[in-house]
Structures are given as C-alpha cells and as structure tokens.
Amino acid sequence: EAGVVQSPRYKIIEKKQPVAFWCNPISGHNTLYWYLQNLGQGPELLIRYENEEAVDDSQLPKDRFSAERLKGVDSTLKIQPAELGDSAVYLCASSGGLAGGDNEQFFGPGTRLTVL
C-alpha cells in the first residue's frame, strides 16, 4: 500500500514568490494534517482537516498561508508571498480519523523549502 505522497521533495524560491505543496494521503484516511518543521525542532501543526473541513487552523498564518482539501482527498498548501523565515520542511500526515486514541498518523517524507 502506498504511503503519504508529497511533492515536490525540494523547492528553492526567492522571497516574495509564491509556492505550493501537494499531498496525497493514504487511501481511506479522512484526517489530513500539515505540519511545519524547523531544523532541530519538533513538527508544529499548521492545519488539520476532517474530510473537507478544516477543524483546526489556529496556527496557520492566514495572511500568507492557505490550504485546501476540496474533495476530502488530496490537499494543497500555499504560501504567497514567501518570506525568508518560511524556509523549513513541510510535512503532511494522514490518519484514519477514528474517535478515541487509535489515531496513528502516517507522515510523508516532507517538502524542504528554501527561500533565498
């Protein structure tokens, strides 16, 4: 079974340019997460979807970041315009979304963004 797929794996852009990341979760997983991970730090949740609904986007910088999951399957995270401080790894994860504690998150390999 395919795991969580993310693309691109690496992206280098100049500041003020837009950038988009794509994630395809594991088939059947209705919960999808976007995390940001800075070097030497733990992942920080940006947004969490239950199907098409964003149930937690409190940590998403909405002035420049946006995300969508239109059909409740794959998702896109966008930054416009990018700033130097946005350089990080952007991780996508998915889970079965079951109530209770049996909620193992499966992570993709991440997209490493470098803003010059």
Partner: protein
C-alpha cells in the same frame, strides 16, 4: 495547551535498554500520548500510543503514571539502527479541534 519537555539528547550502547521521559504537566483529560521516531530526511514514524498505565508492543513500552504528567518511552536492547530523534506528542483525537503538541525531540545516539 499541553507543552511537552524532553531531554535534548541521550547516548546509549547496543544491547542496552533506553528510557526517554517526556514531561507534560498540563495534559488535558482527553489527551493521548504518542511517541514517534524520525530519521534524517524522513517524516516521523509512529512507535506507540497510550492514555494511562502501561502499553507494550513489539518494539517499545510506554509507561504513564497515574497523574499522567509525564510518560516514559522504553526501548529494549537498542541497536545502531535505533539512532534517531524521538518525539512525544500530546493531543486529543477524540474532540475535533483538539490541540496536537510535539515535544522538541530527543536525539538518541546508539554506539557499538
């Protein structure tokens, strides 16, 4: 929010048991505790999850005291391939919108 605290790094030798503790003093009633392993250039990988007392699977054990303000991941007989960063995650999956907080991570180095 349940902020988590872990040791920054730990050293061990092959064959030893390793215990990594995570403090989460403000854990909420609905929060679960999950541990992940991460290798360079990869996403985190699930190790174990628990709510209280002790949980054991084929790779690790998780000990959670009655007050749930800390948890300890136990890795029996580590090998060189266990060299990685280990994160504890505290958060609620039961309530929609429950916060998910990762610790800073513990870099485990296993030596021959």
């Amino acid at each position: 929010l349940a902020k988590t605290t872990q040791p920054i790094s730990m050293d061990s030798y092959e064959g030893q048991e390793v215990n990594i503790t995570c403090s989460h003093n403000n854990i909420a009633t609905n929060d679960y505790i999950t541990w992940y392993q991460q290798f360079p250039s990869q996403g985190p990988r699930f190790i174990i999850q628990g709510y209280k007392t002790k949980v054991t699977n084929e790779v690790a054990s998780l000990f959670i005291p009655a007050d749930r303000k800390s948890s300890t991941l136990s890795l029996p007989r580590v090998s060189l391939s266990d060299t990685a960063v280990y994160y504890c995650l505290v958060g609620s999956f039961y309530n929609q919108g429950g916060k998910l907080i990762f610790g800073q991570g513990t870099e485990l180095s296993v030596k021959p």
